[in-house]
Structure formats: structure tokens, C-alpha cells
């Protein structure tokens, strides 16, 4: 019997060094490592791993092609289900998805499916990608609102089926959170832009600087501009604040502002790029999801001496991907757990100079099944910080929904869509991604875009 192969570690930049630069942290497998890792897969007859993937990537099949060194073939196999493998391989919370179900994980360590996916996708990017063929033109027109993962996936699939597709994007580049939210050191922007170029090769037209709800509306697109169907994928673009005193002080940012300045506007290159951002010496980031990890690690890279995550629950409850959490710890982010701010304090010029917090302890499990945090009376203290980044979540942006009569929304303002087809209450209008589910994941948004494309295709055929 062969010697047992261990799960292959991901080579990374040295923590002390990378905490001060914006280059990608995880360097990716080389061929040899990828082959070793692929050799671990048992090629299960009933691959449980696939059930953990929201788009049911043909995991054993692509891994088998890796074993056979047919990396381009593996890439094709991945793309049968997943339009953006270079993105998903990097940012999927694999430990809760595909890898959590892998049979090897029951006894030891699961196959590193995400890392293999990234390896294959990067190989394809480096060796010239094959543009999939577009179908016979159907003469039908579809409008996609929002150029995030949901919209881009839906656009690609519809174009492959021969429909004429236009994406309307509010910002000056498409990509959604992949461009403005997730930092360069975790998802290089050229990876995203290459994918967008591929989309253009499929004939998809991308109209940037188009705010639907302002420059045009869903009804206008359908009634005046002759679009036969519309897909809304506008994401969760409304930052929540804590609603505590002091939140409008100078030095308090929403994570969206802080990350948009740094990622989309390249503030980290200021003054070579024109947009500034400001990070103080001691930065507190409120929240413990992926957004909070990204903000705290960006703060370090922008020169903060200390970057502190302030979170009301304990480490086990943190919603961030494990890898991000570990990377943040390695880079020296300080975690103030079971701690919650009650007031941000300003100096005489209205600039943040501290944050009043309470300590918490874990009590009974709450509705989410997690033990709920309970404030400890008299535990008030002031954290010495000069910048605060609020990363406690985002809601649905109402620009499109408010201007589209007949669109059913839920209590939070998310669009109500059929879970099977992503059809909304308005005929011909479909919706998916964060605008339907609330802030979720890239792969779920893509899955929604994909399923909706099938339903839209059906709808267009029968129209």
C-alpha cells in the first residue's frame, strides 16, 4: 500500500511581510503539490462532497483530470457548473461547503477541493482560456441589473444559450463585491477582470455607469428598450451602522466605504491613485465576518499600528472563513471578543479618540442556536482607538426595488423570488444573489444566477 499522503498545505507569503503589502497572501499550489493533493481523492461513487457545493461542481471528475495532468480538461469540467472557479477556489467557505462533506474529512482531513479548484482555474488563466461557444442567436434580449457574481453568471449562461445580453452596472467597473469589497491580497483584481473579459468575448455588453432606478428603470427596459426578461442582481449594498452615539464622528467608516476606497479606488496606492483614505494608528473593526477580517487586515496594510476586531460573541461563533480568521491572527490582528461598543468618543474637533465598550459572557442558546452574549454589568471600559470601521452587515439597496412597481419584497426589503426558478412576482423579472438572500456568499450568488438563467431561457422560449 502507498504511503498515506497528507493534506497539502497552501504556500503563503510570510505573515510579517504580507501584513504590510497588498500582494496575494495565498500563493497557490504548484503542479507537484496539486498532483499530490489530487491523489488523495478516493473518487467516490457517491461523492458526498458534491452535495456540499451549492452549484454541485463535478468534483471527483475534475480532480481525476488533474490526476491525469489534463489541467485544461479539468478547467472545462469545472466550468460546466461554475463560471468563476478562479474566484470560488479562493473565496468559498469550503469548510462549510464541499470540504465539510468530503468522506476523508470524517476520519482525517478532507481533500483540499478549493485549493485544487484554484490551481486548475489559475492554470487555465495562465495558459489562455478557451472561450465557450455561444448558441444560435435566439433574437431575444435579456437585461441584467448589477455586475456582481450573480449577474455575471446569469449573463454568461444566457449568452451561451444565444440570447442577446446587456449588463447594467452602477459603478465604473463590473464585478460587484469582487471588485470593491474583497481586497487585492485575497482576490487579485486581474483575476476578476479576466473573467469579465471572457464574458465580453461571449458577446455580453457591459454598460457601466448606469444606475438602474435613476438613469433607467426595470419597466423602461422592458417596455421601451425591448428587453424580454430582466434579472436583478444588485446585491446587499446598504451598510448597516450600530446606531450608537458618535457614529458620525470623523474616523468612523462603514466597511463598504473603507474597502471601496482601498480596493476599487486603489487608495493604497495614494497619491499615485487620486483617492485618499485615512487610517489611524489604532483601528477598531466592529464585526467578525469576512468583511470585518478584510477591513482589519486592510487597516494593517495601510499602516495601522494596531488593528482590533471587536466582537460580541466568542471565536467559535465568528462567521468568517476559517482561513481568513487564521490569516488575520497570524498577521497580528488583535481580537477583543465578547466585547461590544456602546459609544464612540470624539475629541474637540469631532475626531474619534476612543470607544466605550462592555464585556460580555455567553448565556443560553438563542434562535440561531448560538449561545447568546449577555453584558456583564459594570464591565464598561474605553478602548483606545482613533479609527472605527463598522462591519456588522449590509442590507438591500432600495434604488431598484423602490422604482419597480409590482415587485414583492420581504420585511427586510429583499426581493421575494421563487427558490426553484428565481422568478419574482413581476412577470419576466427574475432576481438572485444577495438582493434576495441578504448578504451571503459568492457561490450562492453564482448558483442563483445560473439557475435563474435556465428559468429565463425557458421563459424566453415560451414567450
Amino acid at each position: 500500500m502507498l504511503e498515506k499522503v497528507e493534506r497539502q498545505a497552501m504556500p503563503c507569503q510570510d505573515p510579517a511581510e504580507r501584513a504590510r503589502n497588498f500582494s496575494e497572501v495565498a500563493l497557490g499550489y504548484d503542479e507537484e503539490t496539486a498532483l499530490l493533493e489530487a491523489s488523495r481523492c478516493l473518487q467516490c461513487k457517491k461523492p458526498l462532497c458534491r452535495q456540499g457545493c451549492p452549484v454541485e461542481v463535478l468534483i471527483p471528475d475534475f480532480i481525476n483530470l488533474v490526476k491525469e495532468r489534463d489541467f485544461m480538461g479539468a478547467a472545462q469540467k469545472l466550468k460546466e457548473k461554475n463560471n468563476l472557479p478562479a474566484v470560488c477556489g479562493r473565496v468559498c467557505p469550503q469548510e462549510n461547503q464541499c470540504e465539510s462533506k468530503c468522506i476523508l474529512g470524517k476520519k482525517g482531513e478532507s481533500v483540499a477541493i478549493g485549493r485544487l479548484e484554484r490551481f486548475v482555474a489559475d492554470y487555465e488563466l495562465a495558459h489562455g482560456s478557451v472561450t465557450p461557444e455561444t448558441g444560435v442567436p435566439t433574437g431575444k434580449k435579456a437585461a441584467i441589473i448589477g455586475g456582481g457574481p450573480a449577474g455575471l453568471t446569469c449573463a454568461a449562461d444566457l449568452a451561451k444559450l444565444g440570447h442577446s445580453v446587456t449588463v447594467f452596472e452602477a459603478l465604473h467597473v463590473a464585478g460587484g463585491v469582487l471588485m470593491y469589497g474583497i481586497p487585492e491580497f485575497r482576490l487579485p483584481k486581474n483575476v476578476v477582470q479576466t473573467e469579465i473579459q471572457n464574458l465580453k468575448k461571449l458577446g455580453v455588453e457591459i454598460k457601466t455607469n448606469m444606475v438602474v432606478g435613476k438613469a433607467t428603470s426595470v419597466e423602461e427596459l422592458m417596455e421601451k428598450d425591448g428587453f424580454d426578461a430582466v434579472f436583478i442582481g444588485t446585491g446587499a449594498g446598504l451598510p448597516y451602522f450600530m446606531n450608537i452615539p458618535g457614529e458620525n464622528l470623523l474616523g468612523v467608516y462603514s466597511a463598504n466605504e473603507f474597502l471601496t476606497r482601498s480596493n476599487l479606488m486603489k487608495a493604497y496606492q495614494f497619491p499615485e491613485a487620486d483617492t485618499p483614505t485615512k487610517v489611524g494608528k489604532r483601528v477598531a473593526v466592529l464585526g467578525a465576518g469576512n468583511v470585518a477580517m478584510d477591513a482589519s487586515r486592510t487597516a494593517l496594510r495601510l499602516g495601522a499600528e494596531e488593528s482590533i476586531i471587536v466582537y460580541r460573541r466568542s471565536r467559535d461563533e465568528m462567521p468568517a472563513r476559517h482561513e481568513e480568521l487564521e490569516h488575520a491572527e497570524e498577521e497580528g490582528v488583535n481580537f477583543q471578543l465578547l466585547t461590544n461598543p456602546i459609544e464612540i468618543i470624539g475629541d474637540e474637533n469631532g475626531v474619534v479618540k476612543g470607544m466605550k465598550c462592555l464585556r460580555y459572557e455567553l448565556g443560553e442558546p438563542d434562535a440561531s442556536g448560538r449561545r447568546s452574549p449577555v453584558a456583564i454589568p459594570g464591565s464598561e471600559f474605553v478602548l483606545d482607538v482613533d479609527t472605527v470601521v463598522v462591519a456588522i452587515g449590509q442590507g438591500p439597496n432600495p434604488l431598484v426595488t423602490k422604482t419597480t412597481p409590482g415587485l414583492e419584497l420581504n420585511r427586510k426589503g429583499n426581493i421575494v423570488a421563487d427558490p426553484e426558478t428565481f422568478a419574482t412576482s413581476k412577470p419576466g423579472v427574475f432576481a438572485g444573489g444577495d438582493i434576495v438572500t441578504g448578504a451571503a456568499t459568492v457561490i450562492l450568488a453564482m448558483g442563483a444566477g445560473k439557475t435563474a438563467a435556465k428559468a429565463i431561457d425557458e421563459y424566453l422560449k415560451n414567450k
Binding site: N209, G237, L250, E257, N397, L399
Partner: protein, 280 residues
């Protein structure tokens, strides 16, 4: 790209541009704004729509040099183009027949005020416009404003043209001449100027609308950079405004927030002076 079809220097450091942007021109209304980027590395800068031509598909904007990005923009010539030009953003002015209205513009404020005064006049209002500035060289768009107003009053701080004094002094005089009856006021200009108008009309109970210009990034309600406090509530000026009831706006907060990037701006400006190749 969004080509510049016309450039006109209004006074030192203030330039009018007519820009081809058909999608924006088709929809723009008084009170709305655009966000532009001069080039690929540029900041996103909010600018108010001064005029729109639906047939030609153009938008007119007026830009005052205050920092790095506005200086870069004002170096653009006819035939050059903006990299990005998005809009129309924000909520349009509420135009109704209010009766007698005063449109008070401070300096550059004449540009955003122009379409508002015009729409108010078209809606049947008696429109008394006031343009106030530090001195006569900083007064712009008088002909344009005259054409859309029932009456135009000029004031300068130093008395070099029109009434000597601040815009609020001119407004007080206009009010007196009209028997104390003005039904509605718009004030657009520097924060201090808007605040002084608001403090003047507050005790008189005359509804006063101001146009807030906080720092913005996306202009679609996504980042919260533009938040201001109105009546004790946090609002996003880009989607809830930019016009608000001036009597409810927290001006102290708004003025502080505007100053936040001043030191970074100095670094950018330094690059502008030296040409930027030295790496300073």
C-alpha cells in the same frame, strides 16, 4: 468615454463644461448631480447638473478648483473626455407653485441654482434670485440667472458689486422690499453661507431648502461616506438628498466631516505642483 463638447471659463478657477452623456441627459432634473472621473486613476467627484439638453444628449456642469481632482478636471479642453460620468443621482428638487420664492446662491452655487430657478419660474412662481460672493470677480452666470428669474439681486462682501454685505443681508433687504412675504427659500453655496441663510429664516418660519455637498464615493447609497444628520436622523445625502430642510440640518457636523481629508489633499496637491514624477 464622455466627450467635452464645450468649455467656457467663467472666472478664474471656475469652468463650465458641456459634456456628451445621453443617458444622463435624458433623465436629469433640477437638483440632481453626477459623479465623474477625469481619468483612469481619478477620484469619483460629485458635481451638480447645471443644465441638460435632451435633444443633444448633453449635460452642463460648472467646476470650481478647490483641490487636486477639481484642478485636474479644469485642465480638460474641448475634445477631451471624461473617463466616467454617472447620473442623474439624488432626488430632484420639489418644484411646485409656492408663490414668491427666493433662490439664494453663494458664489459657485449659482450653477446648481440655475435649473432650480428656471423650473420654479416655469411652475409659475415669482422667483427672486440672489447671487452673493466675496467680490465682483467671483460672481458667475448673471445673464443666465437673470433670464430665469423675475428679479436678480447681486451682493458682494466687499461692495464691489451690488449690495454690500453677505447673501443673508441681501435676503433681508429683499424680504423687506416684499412686505415680509416670501413663501419659500432655496440656499446653495458654501456651508457657512447656507447656515447663515438658515439662521436668518428660522425665526421667520420660512421653509428653506439647502443642497448639501458632503464627501461622496459611490453616490448610490452603498458606502455611507455622505452621511449627514437631519432632524437627529442619519441620512445619506446621495440618495436621500442632496436637498434637505435647512432648519433640520446639523451644519457643525457637516462642516467637520467635509474637512476630513484635508491633509491627504495637500499631498495630492503637492504632486500637482511638482509634476508628480519625483515620488514625493
Amino acid at each position: 468615454m464622455y466627450p467635452i463638447v464645450k468649455r467656457r471659463d467663467l472666472t478664474k478657477g471656475i469652468v463650465l463644461f458641456e459634456v456628451e452623456a445621453p443617458a444622463v441627459a435624458a433623465k436629469a432634473l433640477a437638483g440632481q448631480f453626477v459623479i465623474v472621473r477625469a481619468n483612469e486613476k481619478a477620484e469619483r467627484i460629485p458635481l451638480t447638473v447645471m443644465d441638460f439638453n435632451r435633444e443633444k444628449g448633453t449635460i452642463t456642469i460648472v467646476v470650481q478648483e478647490v483641490g487636486y481632482s477639481s484642478t485636474i478636471i479644469n485642465r480638460l479642453q474641448e475634445g477631451d473626455a471624461f473617463q466616467d460620468f454617472v447620473g442623474p443621482l439624488g432626488v430632484p428638487t420639489e418644484i411646485e407653485n409656492y408663490g414668491r420664492v427666493a433662490c439664494v446662491a453663494g458664489g459657485l452655487g449659482a450653477a446648481p441654482m440655475y435649473p432650480i430657478a428656471r423650473a420654479l419660474k416655469e411652475a409659475g412662481n415669482e422667483v427672486i434670485s440672489i447671487i452673493g460672493a466675496r467680490n465682483k470677480d467671483l460672481i458667475i452666470l448673471t445673464e443666465e440667472m437673470e433670464a430665469v428669474s423675475s428679479k436678480l439681486v447681486i451682493s458682494t462682501d466687499d461692495g464691489s458689486a451690488g449690495i454690500k454685505g453677505y447673501a443673508a443681508t441681501a435676503l433681508a433687504q429683499v424680504l423687506e422690499e416684499n412686505g415680509g412675504k416670501i413663501d419659500h427659500v432655496w440656499a446653495i453655496g458654501p456651508m457657512v453661507m447656507m447656515r447663515s441663510i438658515v439662521e436668518f429664516t428660522r425665526p421667520l418660519g420660512i421653509k428653506t431648502i439647502v443642497s448639501m455637498n458632503p464627501i461622496m464615493v459611490d453616490g448610490t447609497g452603498m458606502c455611507g461616506a455622505c452621511r449627514i444628520s437631519v432632524g437627529g436622523e442619519t441620512k445619506f445625502a446621495c440618495v436621500d438628498g442632496p436637498e434637505f430642510d435647512g432648519h433640520l440640518v446639523d451644519f457643525d457636523l457637516a462642516m467637520r466631516r467635509l474637512a476630513y481629508f484635508k491633509d491627504a489633499e495637500k499631498r495630492a496637491m503637492a504632486r500637482l505642483d511638482c509634476g508628480g514624477d519625483c515620488g514625493c
